[in-house]
């Protein structure tokens, strides 16, 4: 009986939000309160359900079964292991907080009746990516999530948003097709695309390289990897802030998750090393890091700066994969957690500022810290974590990544990490300093407008504070649950990637 429930939970966390999105859509015709309440309830229940999956994977257990076959060797399958659990956990956690935040935030926006059902639907499809048992199922949910979240990107329906959305859509289609090609090639070479059958492709060949390249294009597109990141800085800032927080915080990670699966399940470590694909990954990662951080410096729009910073941070994650050793993987998985927490904090804080004051330009934010202390406090913690100040979580992930790089014998990557931290400092610290210590009078024109406001509503600052604190709690602490989780996930992943 118990196992039946545990077996069903992975399906439940996907079906439940998707089903509830319909309920929310229907209820939104009745009353807005009911709609808001339902979406928060759904997100909370989903999070609880995800947490309830922990016992079945805690000791390296795996749940894997087939729901039904579409074609021989190709079907809808489920697979839950410690890595998928980790990502599902962080996603549903952030989603839950963002859904609370969204209620107040979206009360200023139009078309909430469209926003909430889509918001919850994307949660379901995002979790679907993590609990998918083969690349085909993963692909279905990946496409669902990417295409449906288009609606979140263009929510404001301005000309700018539609243009960014179009770019997003075209890139998504291209990425989807590349994935399709890669999956077909894998199926052709291995006769299966399952995640549960050990390494699928063991012999390097031109076809295998094509498959790798197309996986890289498909997932790298989502992860914002250079040179496929071009949609990201446009699409993330134009979305409403709760959506940008999820786009940057969570949905980028689906690309990283896919790449992890590709490296350690489709291929294995010796093969990747033999074929030198890790060098390709490494080069792309370094360019992504440097480019993301450097361009972020030049952005004046707060959300745009955050979006470019996401590009840089995803570079760390790709770099962690390229190192192909266990320590780096720990840092890698942990950075997925850290970045999810930090970036959603930052975007939510930026959203609170925009919501309260309408200011988007960084130069206008002088003195805002005195008016909105909690918001800017959370922003500060997250920004310091980004730079990698101990004892915050960003420090821990960078530290572990650096250890991994030294293990792999490439101190050059450590140097890149340091340079990027420096750049992070250069673009985050001025915001913080100006916010807390800057005088308001530096901008004469805005002065009168900027006078009367205080911090955002409790509905917004509580999720923000929780996220901000979590950057601290999951940092250098004696008991860091997320770090232990990443240790387990990394060793699990590493073992599956050894022949």
């Amino acid at each position: 009986m118990d196992t039946a429930i545990y077996n069903f939970l992975p399906v439940w966390v996907v079906i439940f939000p998707i089903f509830m999105s319909i309920v929310i859509f229907v209820s939104s015709r009745r009353s807005e309160k009911m709609r808001d309440g339902l979406s928060v309830t759904t997100a909370v229940l989903t999070f609880i359900s995800v947490v309830a999956m922990y016992p079945s994977v805690a000791d390296g257990g795996v749940i894997a079964y087939t729901i039904f076959d579409i074609l021989p060797g190709l079907g809808i399958t489920v697979r839950l292991d410690i890595l998928s659990f980790s990502l599902a956990l962080i996603s549903s956690f952030v989603w839950m907080l963002v859904s609370i935040y969204a209620i107040d935030y979206m009360s200023h926006e139009h078309a909430g009746d469209r926003f909430y059902p889509i918001f919850i639907f994307v949660l379901g499809s995002c979790l679907g990516i993590f609990v998918a048992g083969d690349f085909f199922t993963l692909f279905i949910f990946f496409e669902l999530m990417s295409l449906i979240s288009y609606v979140l990107v263009i929510h404001e329906e301005t000309r700018e948003a539609l243009r960014a959305g179009y770019k997003y859509l075209i890139m998504t289609i291209i990425g989807g097709l590349a994935l399709f090609f890669a999956i077909i090639l894998t199926f052709e070479l291995a006769g299966s695309v399952s995640l549960s059958e050990g390494t699928l492709i063991t012999v390097p060949s031109t076809m295998a390289f094509l498959a790798f390249l197309n996986f890289l294009i498909g997932f790298g597109m989502k992860a914002g990897m250079f040179p496929l990141h071009v949609w990201l800085p446009d699409a993330h800032p134009v979305a409403p802030s709760p959506a940008s927080a999820l786009l940057s915080g969570i949905m980028l990670k689906t690309g990283a998750y896919g790449l992890l699966r590709v490296l350690f399940t489709v291929f294995n470590i010796p093969l990747v090393k033999e074929a030198n694909w890790d060098i390709l990954l490494g080069v792309l990662a370094v360019i992504t890091i440097v480019l993301g951080s450097a361009v972020a410096l030049t952005q004046d729009d707060l959300k745009r700066r955050l979006a470019y910073s996401s590009v840089g941070q995803m570079g760390y994650i790709i770099m962690g994969m390229a190192l192909l050793n266990e320590k780096a993987l720990v840092g890698d998985v942990f950075h997925i957690f850290s970045h999810a927490l930090m970036k959603s904090t930052l975007f939510l804080a930026a959203g609170a500022i925009i919501w309260k004051t309408g200011l988007r330009n960084i130069n206008d934010l002088h003195g805002i810290g005195k008016k909105m202390p909690v918001t800017m406090g959370a922003f500060t913690i997250a920004a310091l974590a980004m730079i990698g100040i101990p004892p915050l979580n960003g420090f821990l992930s960078k530290w572990t990544l650096a250890l991994g790089a030294l293990d792999a014998g490439v101190p050059f990557y450590v140097f890149i990490l340091l340079v990027s931290s420096l750049l992070n400092g250069l673009y985050y610290l001025p915001i913080i300093i100006a916010a807390f210590f800057g005088g308001e009078n530096e901008h004469e024109g805005e002065e009168s407008l900027a006078l009367e406001y205080d911090d955002a509503t409790y509905g917004m600052i509580i999720p923000l504070a929780v996220l901000g604190l979590s950057c601290f709690v999951f940092g250098l602490m004696p008991h860091n649950f997320l770090f232990e989780l990443s240790l387990k996930a990394a060793s699990f992943l590493f073992q599956s990637g050894m022949p």
């Binding site: 809808i76 692909f139 496409e143 052709e188």
Partner: protein, 489 residues
């Protein structure tokens, strides 16, 4: 009893077609009822045949009790049972839609003629799927051509007449080619029955190589014209876009495919494989199919009339069917044949959805469709499903056929065709998605008052087809197993 079913189908369709035409304009309700009834019966027969053939294997029927080589033989194998199912199911659903739409689109005194032509067309197509005789095939092709012309020109405006004349001229030239090819084959083999011709051809190939090569070329040209294989497609966009919407759905969904099926039958059952060493027909077909896929998609991108865009998209999609035929083996062929059914569903649905939009608002221009999704949510939802399927998003049936085509191409170690498939999917995305996006998120141009409500009877068929697209995206196994048996996998 089941033995007579195949011929009963064709006879029933032709017979009722005659009866309906006699009913006159006063009793046009009866005409529609009778037509729907017959379509329903034929659909049930085809389902019965499908499961019978699935269980007991193929069987043949000698018309009038005259055995071949003298009499006409109908042969129900896996392929024809599958094709019959496609034909009857889609045409049934489309005519349910047509009951309301045609009253709106056509003059009331031609409605019973429409029913008559529709049945005639379907009967001829069923005949093409069933027959095992070259000359009989030619006759059915002629009937279906004339009937197809009829259901285009019945709208009786300048554009339709022009389009159907163009279609008629090109099509009749195609028919001429086909007749010539039949004559040439008859000349050297002395037979018309597929089986007997196929037995003779390997022996006479060394004697009359040119005859056979020319016959094959003529057949490919004639069937290529009729199924709008690039560059013989020039008649299609006008014909399919100007016809009444149910006609467009049937023409794009079924009529162009049936000639591809005829080609498959001829290549498989009549011509010996040695012929491909004499002339690389398959490579020519492949080359043309690639051109069709790319050119059709690119031209579709610049269209501003929605039905014209759908018509050009059909040219690209028929390219997939021909790609399967050109690769001629294993999973690729299965993918091509599966695409016959899948595209029939998608394109019929898209044309009907476009018809609904035209019915409700009179809008045909793509750029005027902004905001239509808010007023016709279900229609545009169905359209979205169709667009997803065209792009090949997993979970829709379009994905399954592309999957098979791509795997088949890889099996044959020709990854170039996979690239073509992907490129075409991208192009499809580029011209289908903006329509969907503008429909839901664009600001509407037309005032609300001009908007008519859509009768449920028209909406239901569209939704049924949309559900079918998703259903067969997740559960293609029954259809696919049939196709795999048809090509002997």
């Amino acid at each position: 009893m089941y033995l007579h079913l195949p011929v009963l189908m064709v006879v029933l369709l032709f017979g009722v077609s005659f009866v309906v035409s006699l009913l006159g304009k006063k009793r046009r309700n009866l005409a529609f009822q009778l037509t729907l009834l017959v379509l329903g019966i034929v659909f049930i027969i085809s389902i019965y045949l499908l499961q019978h053939v699935g269980k007991e294997g193929p069987f043949s029927y000698h018309v009038g009790g005259w055995p071949p080589p003298w009499g006409v033989e109908l042969y129900v194998d896996y392929l024809s049972a599958y094709v019959l199912m496609v034909l009857t199911s889609i045409s049934f659903v489309v005519l349910i839609y047509g009951v309301e739409d045609l009253r709106h689109e056509l003059k009331s005194d031609v409605l019973h003629w429409y029913c008559s032509l529709y049945l005639l067309l379907l009967g001829a197509m069923c005949g093409i799927a069933l027959t095992n005789d070259l000359f009989n095939l030619y006759v059915f092709i002629e009937i279906s051509t004339i009937a197809a012309c009829g259901i285009i020109s019945i709208k009786d405006d300048r554009k339709c007449i022009e389009a159907s004349l163009k279609y008629l001229i090109l099509s009749v030239m195609g028919s001429g080619c086909f007749l010539l090819a039949v004559a040439m084959l008859y000349m050297i083999t002395g037979n018309l029955n597929f089986t007997y011709v196929a037995q003779e051809l390997p022996h006479v190939l060394p004697l009359y190589p040119y005859n056979i090569v020319i016959a094959l070329s003529l057949i490919i040209v004639s069937l290529g014209v009729k199924s709008a294989l690039f560059p013989l497609h020039v008649w299609l966009p006008d014909a399919h876009s100007s016809a009444p919407s149910p006609s467009s759905a049937v023409l794009s969904g079924l009529v162009i495919k049936i000639y591809a099926v005829a080609l498959v039958k001829l290549l498989f059952q009549v011509f010996p494989p040695q012929i491909f060493e004499v002339i690389p027909v398959l490579d020519i077909v492949l080359f043309l199919s690639v051109l069709a896929i790319l050119a059709g998609s690119i031209i579709a991108m610049v269209q501003d009339d929605i039905k014209k865009m759908l018509a050009y998209s059909s040219i690209a999609q028929i390219g997939f069917v021909f790609m399967g035929i050109g690769l001629f083996e294993g999973r690729a062929l299965a993918g091509g044949l599966l695409h016959i059914f899948n595209h029939a569903m998608m394109k019929a649905m898209l044309f009907l959805a476009a018809g609904l939009i035209i019915y409700a608002s009179g809008i045909r221009k793509i750029r005027d469709l902004k905001g239509i999704g808010m007023r016709m949510p279900l229609t545009m939802l169905a359209f979205t499903v169709g667009a997803f399927s065209m792009v090949g998003i997993p979970g829709t049936n379009g994905f399954i056929s592309k999957w098979h085509l791509a795997l088949g191409a890889l099996d044959l170690e020709r990854p170039f065709f996979v690239a073509v498939i992907l490129l075409s999917s991208l192009l499809n995305g580029i011209y289908y998605f903006p329509i969907v996006i503008d429909a839901f998120f664009g600001t509407q141009i037309m005032p609300q008052s001009e908007h008519k409500d859509v009768p449920a009877l028209m909406l239901v068929p569209v939704m049924v087809l949309a559900v079918g697209i998703i259903f067969f995206g997740f559960y293609p196994a029954p259809v696919l197993s049939f196709i795999e048996r048809a090509i002997g996998l």
